[in-house]
Amino acid sequence: MSGPLLEAMDLYKSFGPTPALDGAGMSLWPGEVVAVMGPSGSGKSTLLHCLAGILRPDSGTVSYNGTELSALSDVARSELRRTEFGFVFQFGQLVPELTSLENVALPLRLGGMRRREAEQAATEWLERLEVADVAGKRPGETSGGQGQRVAVARALVTRPKVVFADEPTGALDSLNGERVMRLLVAAAKDTTAAVVLVTHEARVAAYSDREVVVRDGKSTQVELIP
């Protein structure tokens, strides 16, 4: 590939009178792990949401594989998120009524895969994330660390090109946070998924290949030499 997988340029986004992004931008190359760092309220989560096509910026462009996201319909952007992107949030946001296995199989089922195949793939991912023992448990019956590892399995089960992780260890203690990061980065590298990792914790950012710093809605990134 000659250009970045995902590229945001000159993004502006306000919520009412409050500017969240003020000319921010960043690029993401295939297979790399980039940490988006910055203090609370600096705009790093807004940048992630714009990159993932969840939010539309007021101005500026986000391109994925050379296609501008703003040119896509809502349906096409949803499809892109479901097939090409995976998501891990601070709190797993697993469906509380479903077991871990059903949660991980869900993105595949939504894509039309048969239950048996989807659950087989989900089982493999639960094993890989070292949470096979909670396959039959619902989110309320697992620990925070287990829940996050189930969420990582769900994010990766579709073999996305990009994983967006927003403070994935924010609600965990150090030991569980380390485990989630170790497994997330190893799984992403194995499947050649790129990762956008929003974090305010330097020890979490240390799992990245490089960092983008966001402050007051502006970003500075350490350029990758391809």
Binding site: P39, R182, A202, R203, A206, S208, E211
Partner: protein, 191 residues
């Protein structure tokens, strides 16, 4: 006092030498050993980035012997020089026990070169944010190296790297806090 032999250097050197001596004593508490075995045990457990020189081992052992903290447990004649086996004495055991329950002095870190650089940058109208950014990049790079080492290392490696990572993280938190206070600091410095 020797010219240029400042109290600070003397104290620092003594602490390090004392710490090696006590560590060797601690290792001898598990059973008598030859100097060579002691060095190997030290390097395996504690010498991650700084293995002991043989000279250090033998000079430390002769000091411990002089002070009555170890004794020669046996001498083996071989083809080369005689090999002495050393054992810890009761005084040595007392020293190790006292050392383990004596807290290390918490480092107050009140003299920061980085703080000096930030203030000087502000005083001279240069970009203090750039000073902080450059330092953040350097810190993160070191943290990445330690994280990679941790991921492939054993438990000892993980614990030692974590110790370093938590300290570097503390520096980075200070960098972030200072970055958020640059306007305020700038106003105070220029007052």
């Amino acid at each position: 006092m020797h010219q240029g032999y400042s109290p600070k250097v003397y104290t620092g050197g003594t602490v390090v030498a004392m710490s090696i001596g006590l560590t060797l004593l601690g290792l001898l508490e598990t059973g008598p050993r030859h100097g060579y075995d002691l060095k190997r045990a030290y390097d395996e457990h504690f010498g991650q980035d700084r293995p002991l020189h043989y000279g250090q081992v033998y000079s430390t052992l002769s000091r411990l012997l002089r002070d009555g903290l170890v004794e020669v447990d046996g001498v083996e004649a071989g083809e080369g020089p005689e090999r002495k086996r050393y054992a810890i004495t009761a005084s040595g055991v007392t020293d190790v026990r006292d050392w383990l329950v004596t807290p290390e002095r918490p480092e107050p870190y009140l003299h920061s070169t980085l703080y000096t650089k930030v203030v000087l940058a502000l005083m001279s109208g240069r970009s203090a944010a750039e000073v902080l950014d450059v330092q953040r990049g350097a810190h993160l790079e070191t943290m990445r190296t330690l994280t990679r080492r941790k991921l492939t290392g054993d438990l000892a490696d993980q614990l030692i790297c974590d110790h370093a990572l938590f300290h570097l993280e503390a520096d980075l938190r200070w960098l972030e806090l200072t970055a958020a206070r640059l306007d305020q600091l700038s106003a105070e410095v220029r007052r």
